[in-house]
Symmetry: D2
Subunit: 357 residues, 4 copies
C-alpha cells in the first residue's frame, strides 16, 4: 500500500519530478546473488530515451543510471537497490505560460484540486518522465525472472490504423521508430505521424505486451489475480485508458463455445491449448500459455491548436502548448509496458514461491 510503490514482494518506489535534479527508484525484496550491472539496466533505458527519432520529444536526456546501493561486486545482496538518473535537459522556461493555466486533458487541474500545490515544471510528477524509473526497475525484474521468460512489446495500432497480425514479426519491432512488428504498417504510420507532427497535433495508440515462458501456477485469487495486477500495472502508465487480457473487450461478443480454449495433452507433459482467448490466465492464475495484454494510450493533450480551459483563478482562457512533446506517446510506452509486465511477473514469481514453495 503506497501511492508511489509498486508490487507486494518485488517492490519498487519511484521518485522524482520531470524537471527536478534527478529521478529514480528504490527496489526492495530483490533476491540476493543475481548478477546486476548498470549496463544491464542501461540498455532498456536507451530504448525508452527521448530524442531518438523525429517522432518523439526532442528533449535530450542521456538517462544514465547509477546503482547507489544493494549491489556488491556485481551481485545483488538482497538489500535495497537504489537506481538514480540525473536530469540534464530541464528547459523549464518552455513551460512558463502554463504555470497558471490548466492544460485540458492534463493533470494540472486535478493536482491542484488534490494537493493545493503542484510542481508545474514539465508536468512535475505527472510527467511521463517518471516511466524512466519504471524501465530501470523492469530491467531488474527481468534479471529476477531469468532467461527462460521472454517479455516483448509492440505498438499494434496508431489512430485508426492497426497492424496486420499475419505479418507480425518481433524482430521487426526494433527496425523502425514505432516498435511496429509489421514493416508495411510502419511505413503507413511514418506518413501519418509526419502529418500529425507537423500540424502540431497528436494521436492515440494501442500497445501489446507478451510474456513467453511463464509456468502454469503463478497468480492468485481473488484480489491478486494475475490479470488484475496486470490491469493495474498497465493502467498506471501515463495516458492509458483501457486494458485488455487475451480476447479483451471482444470477449463480450463470444459464445461459450468460441471462448473456451480447448486443451489436448501436450508433448512436454503440460497441456496444449488450441487457442488463447484467456491471454494465458484462468481464474487469475497463469495457464502456461503466453501472457497477452494490450492497452490503449490516449493522445497527449499538448498540442498547438488552442483549446478552451480555465486558469487558476477560474477565468476562461485558451491554452496551446508550445513545448517539446511526443506526437504519439504510445511509441515510448512500449519499453514501459515490457517493464511493467516484468515487474508484475517477478512479483508473482516471489508470491508463488512464498505460498507454494
Amino acid at each position: 500500500m503506497s501511492y508511489n510503490t509498486f508490487g507486494k514482494l518485488f517492490r519498487f518506489t519511484t521518485w522524482g519530478e520531470s524537471h527536478g535534479p534527478a529521478l529514480g527508484c528504490t527496489l526492495d525484496g530483490v533476491p540476493p546473488g543475481i548478477d546486476l550491472s548498470e549496463a544491464d539496466i542501461q540498455k532498456y533505458l536507451d530504448e525508452r530515451k527521448p530524442g531518438q527519432s523525429k517522432y518523439t520529444t526532442q528533449r535530450q536526456e542521456p538517462d544514465q543510471v547509477k546503482i547507489l546501493s544493494g549491489v556488491f561486486e556485481g551481485k545483488t545482496t538482497g538489500t535495497p537497490i537504489q537506481l538514480m538518473i540525473e536530469n540534464v535537459d530541464q528547459r523549464s522556461k518552455d513551460y512558463g505560460d502554463i504555470v497558471e493555466r490548466y492544460r485540458p486533458g492534463h493533470a494540472d487541474y486535478t493536482y491542484i484540486a488534490k494537493y493545493g500545490i503542484r510542481d508545474h515544471r514539465g508536468g512535475g510528477r505527472s510527467s511521463a518522465r517518471e516511466t524512466a524509473a519504471r524501465v530501470a526497475a523492469g530491467a531488474v525484474a527481468r534479471k529476477v525472472l531469468g532467461q527462460t521468460i521472454t517479455i516483448q512489446a509492440a505498438m499494434v495500432q496508431m489512430g485508426h490504423t492497426k497492424i496486420d497480425y499475419s505479418r507480425f514479426d518481433w524482430a521487426e519491432t526494433r527496425q523502425n521508430p514505432f516498435f511496429c512488428p509489421d514493416a508495411e504498417t510502419a511505413q503507413v504510420w511514418a506518413t501519418e505521424l509526419d502529418q500529425i507532427r507537423k500540424s502540431g497535433s497528436s494521436i492515440g495508440a494501442v500497445v501489446e505486451v507478451v510474456a513467453d515462458g511463464v509456468p502454469a501456477g503463478w497468480g492468485a485469487p481473488v484480489y491478486s489475480k494475475l490479470d488484475s495486477d496486470l490491469a493495474a500495472a498497465l493502467m498506471s502508465i501515463n495516458a492509458a485508458k483501457g486494458v485488455e487480457i487475451g480476447a479483451g473487450m471482444l470477449a463480450a461478443t463470444l459464445t461459450g463455445e468460441k471462448n473456451a480454449d480447448e486443451m489436448r495433452p501436450g508433448t512436454d507433459g503440460n497441456p496444449e491449448f488450441l487457442s488463447n482467448n484467456a491471454g494465458g490466465i484462468l481464474g487469475g492464475i497463469s495457464s502456461g500459455q503466453p501472457i497477452v495484454a494490450r492497452f490503449a494510450i490516449k493522445p497527449t493533450s499538448s498540442i498547438l491548436t488552442p483549446r478552451k480551459s480555465i486558469d487558476r483563478q477560474g477565468n476562461p482562457v485558451d491554452v496551446m502548448t508550445k513545448g517539446r512533446h511526443d506526437p504519439c506517446v504510445g511509441i515510448r510506452a512500449v519499453p514501459v509496458a515490457e517493464a511493467m509486465m516484468a515487474a508484475v511477473l517477478a512479483d508473482h514469481m516471489l508470491l508463488h514461491r512464498a505460498q507454494c514453495g
Copy 2:
C-alpha cells in the same frame, strides 16, 4: 498486500467456497459512527441473488447476511465488521463428473497447477459465488461514501448487441432482468438469450458503471491512480477480460484535439467540462466529472456442447457441463460492479483524507 484482501484503508477480505458451509467478508478500517443494519446490506445482495429470472442460474440461495461484529446499537464502532452468508443450496452431486476433468476456460487446471489441490465442488473458491461477499462489502462502502455519491451500473452490451445510448435511462435498469438501461434493447436481448439458454450455450457482455458526485482530488499518483485501482477492482471480477475508463480502447483512435476535455468556468465554482473522454480521471485523480468505467465479461465455459480437454492424469477427454449456470454471467456482474466501484471510492476517500486532511 494480500491474496484475498481488497483495499488500502477501506479493506475487506473475502472468504468461503461455493459449496462450503458459509462465505463472507471481514471489513477493517470502516469509520465509526455510521448507521449500518443487515437490511442496508441485504437490499444489494437481493439484486445479485441467483434464481431471480430464467436468465440466471437456478441455484436457490437466500443470501441472508448476518453482521457478527463491529456494529453496536446500529452504528459502526470502527472495529472489524464480519459479514456472514450461509450457503443453503449446495447440490454438490451435480459436479460429480468434473472432479477429475478440467473444464476448458475454467480455473480447474490452473488451481491444480498452483496448489496441487482444489475444492472442486461448484468451482470452490473460483466460483462467482464469492462476489456475494463483495456486494456485502460494497453496501458498507456506500455507507462510508454517504448520500452525495451515487453509484449505478448497467449492462450495455450482450454479444454483438449494444444498447442505444440515446435511450439510456438508469430507471429502466431495474425494470428488466438484464439491468439494461434501454428498454428496446432489453427486448432484443430477451429473445437472443432465450435461444442461447435453450441451446445450452452462453454469451459475453459489457457492463458500465458510473459514479456521480465524486469531488475533484481523489486518487493519487502513481501506482494508486484511481483508474489503476478501478482497473484492478473490475478485472478481479470473475470472467472479466477488459477494462475501460472513459473513452477506453477507443482513446487510441483519437487526436489530441478530440480527446482533451475542454473546460469552462462552471456555475458552482468548479470547472465545467465540455466532454468526458477521461472518464472523470486525469493523472490518476478525480476531476469532479462522473467516473465512468466499463468492463467485458467473457461467456461462462459451462456449456452443454462437449469441448476437448484433458483429465488430471493428462488423458484427452471431452467435457460438457450439466450443472446450473448463468447463460450470461454479465447480468449478475452488474451489482458486483457497483460494489467494486464503491469500494475503490471509499478507499480513496479515506486515502485522500489521510494525506490531504
Copy 3:
C-alpha cells in the same frame, strides 16, 4: 497494513467483540496441502480457555472452533481459512454500571476519545477475549512451521516472585495452573495469588516464550527484523508493557566482552554458540540458536478497590469492578504468547522462502 490484520505473508485478521455473537479470524496466505482439522486448533484453545482453575475468570466459554472455509477433505487449499468461535456466556448485565464510567487503566476512555462510540459490553473489542482468535491462528501457524520447530511458553515471574531458572522444566508447565516451569515457585504463587484473588486485587507477570529448531537465516533488515516483528507481536497482546529479546533490558549493563555470544564449529556443520544473549537473533536474522523472548503483563485494572476516575460527562466518580476477571492475566497470556511466536515465525518462513528461494 491494517488495524486488525497481523503478518505480511502469513496473514490473519481477527474480528469480534467480547459479548457479540461470535469472534474469529480470517487467515490468508496459508500454503496448500497441509493437514488441518478443528481438533488441531481446539487443543490450543482449550489451554487458553477461561474457567479452568480458580485463578482465571469464571466466565464459561467452550471456545469451540469451526472451520468455515479453506480446508477441503482435511487439507488446506491455499484459499482463506475462516475460523469462528461462538460466544456463549455473555453475562452483559455484570457490566451495567461501567457503561458511563471510565475504568482507570482500561481502554474505555481512549476508545471514546478515538471513535466517539464503544461497545462497552465486556470491554468490546479491547477485551482479551480477542486473543482466542489469535490462539486459533497460532495453531495454523504451527502447522505451517511443521514439526521441527517447537514453541513453548511459560510464566516466569508473578509480581516480585521469579522462578528459579535452575529448576526450569518445560514438562512442569502443564502440571500447575500457572504454566509455571518450576514446581516450587508454582506453590508459592498459589499462596500469593489466593490472597490477591480473595482481596479482589490483581498482579502483573512476566511470560517467556522460546522457539527451538528455527534455522539460521530467517528475518530481514531493517524494518522486518525478526526481533522487531516479535516485539510488535508480543506488545500487541493485551496488557503487555515491555518486551525483551535474549538479554533484554539487562543488555544495557553488559560489556562487549560479556555480551557477544562466542562461536565454535558445531558438530552438525552449524556454529555452536557459547551463550545466547542475542536471544537467537543477530542483525534481525535468526542465528540457529533458540529464539528467546519475554514480555511483562500489567495487572488488570478490574479490581474491587474503588479507584478515582471520571464519567463520560467529565464528572469525578469512583469506579470498582465487580465482574468476573482474572487476578493474574499473565496466566492466560501464555498460550497467546506461543501463538504470536508461531505466527511471526510462519510469516518469516514464507518471507524467507519468497526472497531467498
Copy 4:
C-alpha cells in the same frame, strides 16, 4: 509490508550501505504544503553525526543531506521525497581482516546464512550508518506533526549507572556528550566511558524517549496498537534488545491498585491523570498523557579483546576488531529514538485522520 520500509501512511524506505557511495530514504505519503528545507533536516543529522566527541566513532562524515524530489519552492508537494546523503569517509581497508571471519555478536554470520552474500565493508547494510536515513525521515515526520508535539530523548542508563530522575532536565541533554539529562551522572559516565574506551571495550545503555502534546485517540486496535508500533520501531534500531512503554517490565511487579492510572477532571476539558504507568497508551490508543518509551541498547561487539569465533569455512578463529567504533552506541541512538518516535506518531496521525476524520 516491506523489508526496508517503515510505516503505513507516513512511509519511508531507507537504502544504502555503510561504505557505498550514498545512502538515503524515500518518503511517500507526506502531506502537501508543508515547509521543508535541507536545513530543517540537517540540524537533526548534525546531532547524530559521528566524530563529535571522543566517545563516538572517529569516522568523519559530514552527513550532508540533499532533497532530490517532492519539494517545490520550499514546500512539500505530496509526491515522494528523496533524501540523499553521500558517504565520504569510507576507510574500507580497516575491515580487511574480517572479510572471512564472523565477528561474534554481529550480523556477519546471519547475513551469510540468509543471503549467501554480504557487503562486508563496514557492516554493509547492517551498519548503524543506516540510522542517518532514519534521522532524516524523522525530521520530516516532525514537520508533519507540527509544533504542538514535542519529542525528546535522553540516555538514562549506561552500564549499571542510572541517572537520578529527580535531577532530570531536558535542557541538560544537549550540554554533555551523552545526551544525559542529569549533569552529575554525565560526569560519572565520562569517567567510566573513558576507561572503557581506552581498554578497547564497550558498554550497553538505556535510552528514554518522550512525546508531549499527543492528543488522545491516536493508535488503533489490535495489531496497530500505538505501543505495538512503537515497540517495533524502537526494536528495529541497531543493537536494541528490549523495549518498555510506561512502567515497562516493572509492570509485572505491580498490583492493580498501583498500576491503574487514576483520573480526575482536568482544567482543559481533558482528564487529568494522577500517574502514568501506561506511558500514555491505553488499549493501544493515546490517552493524552506524554508517550513514554525506553529501550536497551547492547554494547557493540567490535572490541579489542579477542573473542572466539569461526570463519566462513567453519574453522575456529579468534576475532578482534581494530576499526573505528563507538564505545557506547547508546549515545548516538538518542537522535534515532526521537526520529522513530516522530515517524510512528506521524503515521498514526494520518491513520487517525483517515478513519476518524
